[in-house]
Each structure stands twice: as structure tokens, then as C-alpha cells.
Amino acid sequence: MSFSAILGAWIAAFLTLGIFSYLYRDNPFYKIAEHVFVGVSAAYVAAISFWTQIYPNLFGRLFPKDGPLAFTGLEFDFNHEFNILYLFPLILGLMMLISVFQQFSWMARWGIAYTVAIAAGLKAFGYLNSNVLNQVKASSVDLFSGSLPFFSLGGDSVFNNIVLVVGTLSALMYFYFSKEQTGNFGRFTRLGIYFLMVSFGASFGFAVMGRISLLVGRFNDLIDYSSADYNYATLGVLLFIIVTLGIWSFQNPEQKEN
């Protein structure tokens, strides 16, 4: 095993166990892991955004090789054609940057307005199509053809289709705000909230299973790192963290009480 792999395993074990130490309470190991994580990720995102987006997609299109702006001495060859429209994102980006100066803080609004307006326009169609029309279509279920059994646990059935229609309508009516939820209407919307809660419960269980698999993944790594190949990285770090936390706890009785 190379030295860099062993060092990487020790760092990974330290950061993983540092984050897990939060289960005890906020402590220096968690703070170290948190700040390293935040700092590294912020820098990483900045670097990735520049080198994979701004550099090839913006500069590559505004200053292509042999493009009309080649006289400036700036040429970026990413096989893109010159596109003057890319001046707008450049200007909006610069306006966002300039807004760090107090007197130009208003400039940021242009970029924000552009982002929100474009997103609203683009997504309106998608939402109407997928969240409304497709849902309406899915609600026009087969109830009377006679081709479906009345009840089936595993597939389509008339009963399941009735549940689907009633669930859709009652949940939709739960979000009706112009009328107080009392009387028969209130009972119907209460049925809607039961349907919603059942679906949330199923979603919750599904997501928890996903989280458990993530946890198993981390434990697998920690188990790997506890082998002799990695100089017992997990065990060493775990022992170090437990001992240090123990000493730290005894030295900070006030924090312990909190």
C-alpha cells in the first residue's frame, strides 16, 4: 500500500469519525471536520464552476480561436463558434461582482431578476404539463370497462382506481384556501390529509432505507481502513478521538452540563 493511500485512509477515517463525534455533542473534532469540509467544498465548487463553465462555455464562445475578438489577444480554443449573446451573461456576472461595492449594490438585482424571470418562464410550461395535465390524465382511470378485477393487491383494480381518484380529489381539496374546512367539506379534506400522510409515511420509509445504505457505505470504508493494510487507521483515530474527547469533557464541565 502506498504512503499516499495510507495517509488518505487516515484522513478519511479522521474526518468521518470527526463528523460522527457530533452524535456525542459539538466538539473540536466536529468543528475541524466541519470547517475543512466547508472550506474545501466552497473552494472546489468555485474552481469547478470556473474551469468547467465560465472558462470553456463563456470565454470559449466570446473569444474563440480566430474569432472577431481575437485582436484582443484572448483566444480560447474549445471548438465553439463566436456568439455575441454570451456578452449578456458576462455583463450580468460582472454586475453581480461589482455589487460588492456599496454604491453599486443595486446592480445585483439585474442578475437576480433575469434568473428568476427566465426560470419562471421556462418552468411554467413544465409544471403545467407534468404537475397538472399529466396528473389530470392519470386520474381518468378505468372504472367501468369490466376488464379489471374489483380488488387486487398487486396490480390495477377497480378498487385501487377508486382509491386513486378519491385520494387525488380529497388531497387537492385540502389545499383549497377560500373555504373553512368544516362540515362535510372538512371531513373530505381530512380524508385528503390522511392520504397525504400515508404517502409521506411511505416516502419517509423509502428515504430512511436510502440513508441506511449510505451509512453502511461509510461503515464499510471504516472497516476497510481498520485493516493492517492501512496501519489500523480507523482504530487509531477512534482511540485518539475517544481519549481526547474524554479529557476535553473533564476539562470543560460547564459545556458538559449544557
Partner: protein, 291 residues
Amino acid sequence: MNNKFTVYALGIVGIVLLTLALSVMPDSLNFFREDKSAMFVFTLIVIMVMLYEVKLAKNSSEPIFLRTIPGLKAVEEAVGRSTEMGRPILYVPGIMDMNEVETVAGVVVLGHVANMTAQYETELDVPVARAIVMQSARQVTKEAYLTQGRPEMFNEDMVHYITDDQFAYAAAVNGIMQRDEPAACLYMGKFFAESLLFAETGNSIGAIQIAGTGSQTQIPFFVTACDYTLMGEEFFAASAYLSKQPELIAGITAQDIIKIILVGFIFLLIVSRAFFDLGVTEFNLVTWLGL
């Protein structure tokens, strides 16, 4: 009221006739796509209802009735609780950018919360995960403090960027919760897997927690761990509720009318399909509309 529904009925008939007229135009003109007719009709109906409801709200002197949403009342309670305890309010506007409707709604609600914190002189902390959200949240917060006549209380660092990375952001926000111990934690925006991390930590420090999101997969976590949850459209309606402006509230009543239209449409499709399946008619509305 009857007059209103007559207008809508006539409007819908007019829109359908317009669509039929456009659909008979020759294909060579390439002017109208018939396969998108249902979308065209529905979009025009939405626009018509929205505009007419806003017009009615502007001209009406009577307040528009909206049922109470407990989670929204709790926002003011949360600010009051923080003020009494002398502890800050943590406001998390989600982890996505301003191109997500939930983030926009979250920033709008932030403006109302900032109005209250300016009024009550309560400390507000808004960690954000996106640069454009940071700028928007700063603008909104600053405006709220100016509106309340407390510009000296506004500090740009109230809204501070952490990182774009989802779990690094979650780790940092959890750290802030542990160290600053806010009395109230508000999560309003688009969330993913970090939602339960926030809500569990907020729960462990004893903060009153109110969440609002349209992220269907995250609502269960907020429902489980928060004191109040604004689910889906309740969250989108929140800004109108809190603003108490008739024009914005009219948007909610317009959406209610659209829901009624949709319920009627679903019934129509079910009946149409039933007649088709039973062999009463050869005509299926779903197929005809190209849905």
C-alpha cells in the same frame, strides 16, 4: 359571485372556440401546434382567472376570506419567542438557486420575517448555499429593515454564504445551531437529504421549528421533526397570507378556482372514459385532447 362564474364560463367557452379556430388553420402556415392545444387552453384559462381575480380584488372593498393556516400564525409566535428569550432566529432558505420556485417563495417569506425581526429588534441569521440567493436575501432583508425604519440594525453579514455543497452546508448550519442556539429555526425553500439533519439538530437544541417546502420527498421529515410544516401550496401561499395585500391574496383565490375547474375536468374525463369503455360513445376525451 354568480356573475364571476358566468364570466369564467364564457371565458372558457371563448378560449375553446379560439383554440378550435386556430386548429383549423392550414398546416402549411406552421402557426399553431394542435398537439399542444390542451396546454394552450389550460394556460389561457389560468391567465384569465388570475387576471380577473386580481381585478376583482383591486376593485373590492371587502376583505377576501382565506382559511387559517396554523404554520403561518406560528411564524409570528416564533419571532416573539426569540425576542423574549433574547436568542437569534435562524432562517434557512433551502439549498437551491433562485431558478427554483421554492427558493423564490422562501426569499419572499424571509422579507416578512425580516420585517418582524426589525420590528421586535431580534437577531436574524440567514446562512445561504448559493451566491444569487445571498444577493436576493440581502436585498430583501435590507428592504425590510429600511421599511421598518431600522436601517441601523441591518448588517450584511446577517445573510452569509457558506458553500454550494449540500452536506458541507448542512454540517455548517448544524454547527451554527449548536453554537448560537437559536430560539426559532425556519426552513423555507427547496430541500433534499439535509432536511432531516437540520430538523433533528433544531429539535435537539429545543428551538421552535417551522418548515415550508414543496419538495415532496422532504415534507415527511419536516412533518416528523418540526413543530409546524407548510406543505406544498401552503408554503407558496404563505407570502400572500403574510403580506395581506389583496392583489396577492387574489392569486390564491384564483388558484382555488383553477382547482375547482380541474376537479370538474377530472370528473368529465372519468365520465368520458366510462362512456367509451362501456361502448356508449366512440369518443374518448383524453385521446381527443391529445393528453
